[in-house]
C-alpha cells in the first residue's frame, strides 16, 4: 500500500517565536529508511482513506488528551455534524474546521472525487490521532490502522496533519 502524506503547513516565520522554537527543536523519530511503494494501479481504481492528527472524533466518543497514543475511527459515511475536535493544543486555527470539516479532513472532497471517477472509492474507515504525542509510542496504533486498511482494501492513505 502506498502512503501519501501532506506535512504540516505554514512557514516557520509565520509562527510566533515560542511555538516556532519548540517546533525547530522538536526531537524527530529516526527510521532505517523510507518505505516507498510504487502505485501499481491507476488512481481511478484506488481506494483511499484519511488519517488526521487533529484529534477529531465522533461526538460522544472518548476524548483525546495530551500524549494519547490511541486512535479514533471516523466512518466513511459519517455525518459531518457528528465530528468534533478534542485536541489539547490551542496553537492552530480551529475556525476553519468549525466552518468546514473538509479544510482539515477532506472526506467530502474524497466522496466527490469518487463520484466523478477521479478515484476508485472511499475507504469505509478513516482515522484520527492527536498530533504532538511521541511518535514511537504510536506504533501499535499505526500497525492496527494499517491492518484495518488492508482488510478494507485501501490502496492509499492520505495523511492530513493539522
Amino acid at each position: 500500500m502506498s502512503k501519501l502524506t501532506i506535512p504540516l503547513m505554514a512557514r516557520l516565520e509565520d509562527i510566533p517565536a515560542g511555538e516556532r522554537e519548540m517546533l525547530k527543536k522538536l526531537p524527530l523519530p529516526e527510521f532505517d529508511g523510507t518505505p516507498f511503494v510504487k502505485l501499481e494501479k491507476p488512481l481511478t481504481e484506488c481506494r483511499i482513506s484519511l488519517l488526521s492528527t487533529a484529534a477529531i472524533q465522533k461526538r460522544n466518543d472518548k476524548l483525546f488528551w495530551r500524549g494519547a497514543v490511541d486512535y479514533r475511527i471516523i466512518p466513511g459515511d459519517v455525518d459531518h455534524g457528528d465530528v468534533v475536535m478534542s485536541h489539547s493544543s490551542v496553537n492552530f486555527d480551529r475556525s476553519g474546521f468549525q466552518q468546514d470539516l473538509n479544510v482539515c479532513f477532506p472526506l467530502g472532497r474524497l466522496h466527490e472525487l469518487a463520484d466523478d471517477g477521479t478515484i476508485g472509492s472511499v475507504g469505509s474507515f478513516h482515522f484520527s490521532v492527536i498530533g504532538g504525542s511521541e511518535p514511537e509510542k504510536l506504533e501499535d496504533s499505526a500497525r492496527e490502522i494499517a491492518r484495518i486498511l488492508k482488510q478494507d482494501g485501501v490502496d492509499v492513505l492520505f495523511l492530513v496533519p493539522i
Binding site: 516507498f36 484506488c46 488528551w65 468534533v84 490551542v90 492552530f92 486555527d93 472532497r109 495523511l159
Partner: protein
C-alpha cells in the same frame, strides 16, 4: 513543517504554505481544496522517493502576517457592553454576551448544517458558570461527574470558545482566523474571563490545571501580543499579570 518532512523523509509529502489548522487552505472553497488534493495525488505518479514537493499557491489574500495580526478583528462587529470590573457582575455580563451571540450561533449552525460545540457534553450556560467559578477561584461543582476538575475545565473552555467562534464567523468580515481570534481574546467578556482563568491556573497546585493555563488555553500568538506589544493592550480594559 517542511523542516520535519525533510528530516523524517516520508515516502511522499506535499508542503503547503497555509496556516496551521487549515491544511487544505480555505474553508468552503471546494475548487481550491481540490487543487491541493490533486497536487498531493500527483505525487503517486513518482517512481522513486522520498518525495517532497511544494504546493505553489497561497490562499487567496495570502496568509495573515504580523501587521494584519495586530489589527484583524479590532473592530467589534457586535454592540457589546464594555467589560465590567466588578466580579459580581461578571457572570451576568457573560450570560448577556452569550445571549447576544446566540442568534448568530443559531444562524451559523443552520447555514453550515453542523456545529463543533459539544465536546464537553455540558450545556453552554453550565460551562460558562463553571469557567467563571474557576476563574474566580470558587471551586464550583464539576458539571461532569466522569471528569476531574482540570480536564472538565479544558473541554468547557473549548466549547465556549467554539460557540463564540462559530457565532462571530457567521458575520460578514469575520471569517478569517485572525479576525475571530483577536475579537474573542481582546473584545469579549469571555476573553477577559479566560485571561483571568489563565492567571489563576498558572498558580495552581494541580499539574493538569497549570499546564492548561501555560500551554492549552490561550494561543501563543495572543500571549506574544499580550507580553510583547503592550501598546496594543493599552486600549483594552485588561489587567496585566
Amino acid at each position: 513543517m517542511r523542516l520535519h518532512s525533510e528530516n523524517i523523509k516520508p515516502p511522499r509529502a506535499l508542503w503547503v504554505p497555509f496556516e496551521l489548522g487549515r491544511p487544505l487552505g480555505v474553508p468552503n472553497d471546494a475548487e481550491f481544496q481540490h487543487k491541493v488534493i490533486a497536487s498531493a495525488f500527483d505525487l503517486l505518479e513518482r517512481d522513486a522517493g522520498p518525495v517532497l514537493e511544494d504546493f505553489p499557491e497561497d490562499v487567496p489574500g495570502g496568509t495573515p502576517n504580523e501587521g494584519e495580526f495586530e489589527m484583524a478583528g479590532q473592530v467589534c462587529p457586535i454592540d457589546l457592553p464594555p467589560p465590567v470590573s466588578d466580579d459580581s457582575d461578571i457572570m451576568q455580563a457573560l450570560e448577556a454576551e452569550i445571549g447576544r451571540l446566540a442568534p448568530w450561533y443559531e444562524m451559523a449552525v443552520n447555514e453550515r448544517g453542523r456545529t463543533t460545540v459539544g465536546v464537553s457534553e455540558v450545556e453552554i450556560p453550565d460551562a460558562a458558570r463553571f469557567v467563571v467559578g474557576m476563574a474566580q477561584e470558587k471551586a464550583p461543582e464539576i458539571p461532569r461527574g466522569d471528569l476531574e476538575r482540570g480536564p472538565c475545565l479544558k473541554v468547557c473552555s473549548e466549547d465556549l470558545k467554539a460557540f463564540y467562534s462559530e457565532a462571530i464567523s457567521a458575520q460578514p468580515g469575520m471569517s478569517t482566523s485572525l479576525a475571530v481570534e483577536n475579537w474573542l481574546w481582546n473584545k469579549t467578556m469571555l476573553g477577559k474571563i479566560l485571561w483571568q482563568l489563565r492567571n489563576v491556573g498558572l498558580e495552581s497546585d494541580d499539574e493538569f490545571t497549570r499546564y492548561h493555563a501555560q500551554r492549552s488555553l490561550v494561543p501563543d500568538r495572543q500571549i506574544h501580543l499580550y507580553e510583547e506589544i503592550p501598546r496594543v493592550f493599552e486600549s483594552f480594559s485588561l489587567q496585566r499579570k
